[in-house]
Amino acid sequence: MAATQFVVNGLLVGALFAGVAVGFALIWGVVDIINLAHGEMVMLGGYTSYWVLTLVTGNAEGSPLLFLATIPVAIAVLFGIGYALQRILVSRVIGTDIFLTLLVTFGASIAIQQLAIQAWSANPRSIQVSFADPSMNLAGIVVPKMKLVAFAGALVLTALLYVFLQKTRTGRAIRAVSQNPEAAALVGIDVEHTRAVTFGVSSAIAGGIGAFIAVILNIQPQMGLIYTLKSFVIVVFGGVGSIPGALIGGLLLGSVEELVAGFMSSQWTLAVTFTALIVLLVVKPNGLFGQGAEQ
């Protein structure tokens, strides 16, 4: 029974990990960049939602609907930040040594972290959403309503991305650039703009997820790197550029972490995650290299 409860908790959180990882995978697949500042987009999204809510209500509390109304703002702001990040910084190192691209995004990551500390202090914050009856009980398993909302929200965002990539003109351009930038340029696609949009869209989803994280967990300026690495674990597991793969990877990682927390101690979850990363890289190197991401 306890195990079921842990798995349910894990799946609820795992959908959020998956949503973050999907954007990470998209940038990796389309721009061939590992964006080490991706976790900072989650953090910034959380803070955006937090401050919008504070602006409206005077403190970071509100009804579920009011909170949900802040998410489009977080998405819009983070789209802009992601777009600018690509245009101003990342575009300058595309096509050079991949190590340099890692350094640039890592440089951006630590700079954003400390700017956030300067602006908002290092204290963890969270958004309080008031439910009349905060959790429900399904056959003995406790499901907090807000976690359910976050779960659904993450799935909706992921689904929206999928539809966007499949159905819209911009989405098709993104897929074209991911397959062959030269050919895409030849048929008249603005490759640089498309890459920047990819960054924007990925960051926007991360930002939206960040808002949910601010409600069900908490936000803190230095939280980003952990989400970046979790995304890496998930993408390595699920395959670069695969949205279903990222979804399954995210749900699995969430479950594993909750099981570790439940049966061992929550202190060990991160150690297990990072060890899983290394083990995954070791046992699956051929599958990884098959993705063509090897230098």
Partner: protein
Amino acid sequence: MSTSDEESRGVLRSVLPPEQVDRFLSTCDAYGWQLLAISTLAAAALPLLGLEAGYRMTVFTEMFLFAILALSWDLVGGQTGYPSFGNMAFFGIGAYATAILTKDFALSFPVAFLLAGLLAVTFAAVIGVIVLRLRGHYFAIATLGVLLAAQQISRNLDITGGASGKILLQTPSGETFYYLFLGVLVVEMALVYYLSGTRFGFVLNAIRDDEEKATAMGFNTTYYKTAAWMLAGLFTGFAGAAYSLFNTFIDPQTAYNGAWNVELIAMALLGGSGTVAGPVLGAFGLHTIIEIVETYAVGWQLVLLGGAVIITVIGFPNGVVGTLSEYASQMDYYKHGGMAATDTDDGSEVSADE
């Protein structure tokens, strides 16, 4: 690589002629051992000439520390082409090893120091076998994963003092650490400088440039890159081993400091990676700047560091030494018929020149 900025080169050439730079660099190269010896003597003499234990000596000691870290990183990242984001794992292991051995096992510092180095090398060997099979993104992220896993583990163990770390009160004097870090740095510089002139060093560079070709030429590249990785682990481990007592305190955040890992990469790149002097000069330069920022603008050093990294990478990825020597070698090339390189029939042109 760098071909687009021809006009700016023209101005530069009249202000700073490449021949002069070339002459300067080859002089440095020819007298490498002498330069190293003179610098060592000068640094060793400073405390005798009135540098007293205190803030200034601490700053100098930290410069040596970062130079060790940057040079170790560069041995694998710059010379061999395997850029690691996890070097600080060796540092942390060395740091905790001396902390635990001196405090909990009451070993003397020298013994603990040597054991800590040994432990770091052993760890490097084990981890190296695993991560050095990976390339590119995967290698970089796997090493970062190693660093963070090590950090998490030390946070959860009792022997490491958990998240609150260990306070170390029985420590040698500031002067001891000044000479210890200086000594380790000099030994490492001498070793790297020596190796860079041997075929062992050439093989490392060959792995960086084209690992497949190096294999096809008969080199078992796994063996060489693991050796370089273990050397880096040894010196980084020594640096950590001395640091915990020098700092009188160690916790997971300082021992496995991810920001430091970026800092030492930035130092190597700024100075010029793939050279001996580059990472050391980069460490001295960047640490001075960071020290100033920490004095006058506390809490902004990571913003500055991030900015410095971005500007370096975008502006001049070859670093100071790399850019200079590339600039200097232009002349050498043109003098020897290199102009013909753009022509179609270069073979005959070159021979006509000689």
